[in-house]
């Protein structure tokens, strides 16, 4: 019976190894510097690339982080300082609700909120929906880190005469910084891989675009469009793009873990 659990674990890890090796094998032949720097070409024309999707993903994810991190950190401060207050409990509950909303429903929400009034798809809408998706991740990791900061640190700062906001900014935030950074990295990894909400917010764009009020291409959306197309060379490009995306996502995930592991090893505790 005990061996069965080992078998279960092996069965669980098998798909991961299969996916990674398959994406590597199918995608590696098509990867080149040209692939990463050229714009997409029409079907059948050799050479194309995913430069617009790389830039688009960077812009939408960057926008999402820009919106989600300040709001998320402030919310985490509120929840950490008022854990038992009714608003604090309601916010914790609300964060869980937002975390559980399917990404396609978030996409519909961003569509009705931003795309419809503006009457066009935009990178802004894409960034906003990613911000909504990333928000609970940032709130949770920051709040956990803030709770780990010893109360004596906060009390010492207050005792030395710093006001509440100076304490928060100069003492608590640096102490929880590693958690915030880990949270941001995990949120970026999550946001970079979301395709469903992009279907009706950023909408995709075959050309290079850096304007926030125009549709923009993103890596996962490009993979989706290429993968379900009937063209052989587009499907080959889908594998190569998937390799790029999965490499980026894994790098961010591993970096987030290594960072918090390094912090623990170097400083002997998870906070400063």
């Amino acid at each position: 019976m005990l061996a069965l659990t080992g078998v279960a674990t092996a069965l669980a890890i098998l798909p991961l190894l299969w996916i990674l090796s398959y994406v590597l094998r199918q995608g590696a032949p098509a990867i080149s510097i040209g692939f990463l720097t050229h714009l997409p070409t029409p079907v059948g024309v050799p050479g194309g690339g995913i430069a617009n999707a790389l830039v688009g993903s960077a812009i939408t994810v960057g926008l999402g982080v820009l919106i989600a991190v300040p709001v998320g950190v402030l919310v985490a401060f509120y929840v950490a300082t008022h854990p038992q207050a009714p608003l604090g409990l309601a916010v914790r509950f609300g964060t869980d609700v937002i975390a559980g909303v399917p990404s396609i429903v978030m996409g519909i929400f961003a569509y009705t909120l931003i795309v419809v009034p503006q009457r066009h798809f935009s990178a802004l809408a894409g960034g906003a929906v990613l911000a909504f998706i990333m928000l609970p991740i940032i709130i949770r990791t920051t709040e956990e880190m803030l709770r780990l900061v010893p109360a004596s640190l906060r009390e010492a700062s207050l005792a030395l005469g710093a006001s509440e906001w100076r304490t928060a900014l100069s003492v608590l935030l640096p102490a929880a910084a590693s958690g915030v950074i880990t949270g941001v990295m995990l949120a970026v990894a999550r946001g970079a891989g979301e395709a469903a909400p992009m279907l009706f917010t950023a909408f995709g764009n075959p050309f290079m675009n850096v304007a926030l009020d125009q549709p923009i291409a993103t890596l996962p959306h490009t993979i989706f469009v290429y993968a379900i197309s009937p063209y052989e060379d587009w499907r080959a490009k889908a594998w190569a793009t998937a390799l790029v995306l999965i490499a980026l996502v894994l790098v961010f995930n591993v970096a987030a873990r290594l960072f918090s592991w390094w912090r623990v090893r170097k400083l002997g505790s998870v906070t400063r």
Partner: protein, 328 residues
């Protein structure tokens, strides 16, 4: 300019004096900012529900509650919309995914929490969590071109030839299929269920384990007859959390389920889910009633995942309270 008589109000001052005032009374600003951010989170939740409710008004008024039980989906000719095939498809694929994922996740959680040698735990746990990091669209891509031909089709053929008399394994064997979607979903929710289950096992105090072993139980008896019952509500919560994730999964399912309004009970044929019809048809919804109907499906999905996630959180929280350790 008259000075306001309300206590604590700012008298009219120059910019510099205002900044100095803010610096000295920054706590008020800070508290305001954090409070506003907290309210913004609640506002976001309410806004999502409200917008979905508002934008599905046409469809709700036209079809009422029969929307949930009608099977016709004909945007082109009849303009009649019924969500039953999608609701059924979502529930079927998610439940089959649970049936496959829960025993595996339990096994993984037990192995990683109790049985694996300590040097193996971290790397294996990390690998299982990496499953959750793979983007959904990559699961769909791999599912469509590698998993279906390499595993699902042989499995489906085998199930059909051996158990084809059961309505759920009735032929013809087509791919993509609901079975493919269920299996891909199972892989995707496995890390969620096993991570929470591991936390549940870790929250059970060591004294329980030692007491069981001291009374002469074997290792397996200790796990199966002491730990699992002790953490049962938490394990149930983990399962329901996985269900919540499976219900909302869009892109991977869209790519491997075939997107067909098939009404048969067989798993070996293509199907449709709520999330995948929205993904497929939203950008092509040319008139208002059509779009409203799709948004109403989104509303149903939202409410469903909301309830499921609440139940899951409640169960997990109960285990945390019983054993005095926060698990999530």
């Amino acid at each position: 300019m008259a000075v306001h008589s309300r206590a604590g109000a700012l008298p009219p001052l120059s910019l510099l004096k205002r900044l100095h005032y803010a610096w000295q009374h920054g706590d008020r600003v800070f508290r305001l900012l954090t409070g506003a951010a907290a309210l913004a989170v609640l506002a976001l939740v309410l806004a999502i529900g409200l917008k979905l409710w508002q934008q599905s008004a046409l469809s709700r008024q036209a079809f009422g509650l029969t929307f949930l039980v009608t099977s016709s989906w004909d945007p082109a000719v009849d303009q009649s919309f019924g969500a039953l095939p999608f609701i059924a498809g979502t529930l079927v694929t998610s439940l089959v995914a649970l049936v496959v994922a829960v025993p595996l996740s339990l096994g993984v959680a037990i192995f990683l929490a109790e049985l694996a040698p300590s040097w193996l735990r971290q790397p294996l746990g990390f690998l299982v969590e990496l499953l959750a990091a793979v983007p959904s669209v990559v699961y769909g891509l791999w599912g469509l071109f590698a998993f279906i031909p390499g595993f699902v089709r042989p499995l489906a053929t085998g199930l059909n030839s051996g158990l084809g008399f059961l309505p759920i394994f009735e032929g013809p064997v087509l791919s993509p299929s609901r079975l493919a979607a269920s299996l891909v979903l199972a892989i995707m929710i496995l890390p969620t269920i096993s991570a929470v289950s591991r936390d549940v096992f870790r929250a059970i105090p060591g004294a329980q384990r030692e007491a069981a072993l001291a009374l002469g139980a074997t290792h397996w008896e200790m796990i199966w007859q002491v730990l699992v019952p002790a953490g049962l509500s938490g394990l149930l919560g983990a399962t329901i959390l996985g269900l919540g994730r499976a219900l909302g999964e869009t892109i991977a399912v869209t790519m491997v389920i075939g997107n067909n309004l098939d009404a048969s009970a067989s798993l070996l044929r293509p199907g449709y889910t709520m999330a995948s019809i929205i993904a497929n048809e939203f950008a092509e919804a040319t008139y208002d009633l059509y779009q409203n109907a799709l948004i109403e499906i989104g509303l149903v999905l939202f409410v469903l995942t909301l309830i499921i996630n609440l139940v899951a959180r409640l169960l997990i929280w109960r285990v945390a309270r019983t054993h005095g350790n926060p698990t999530s």
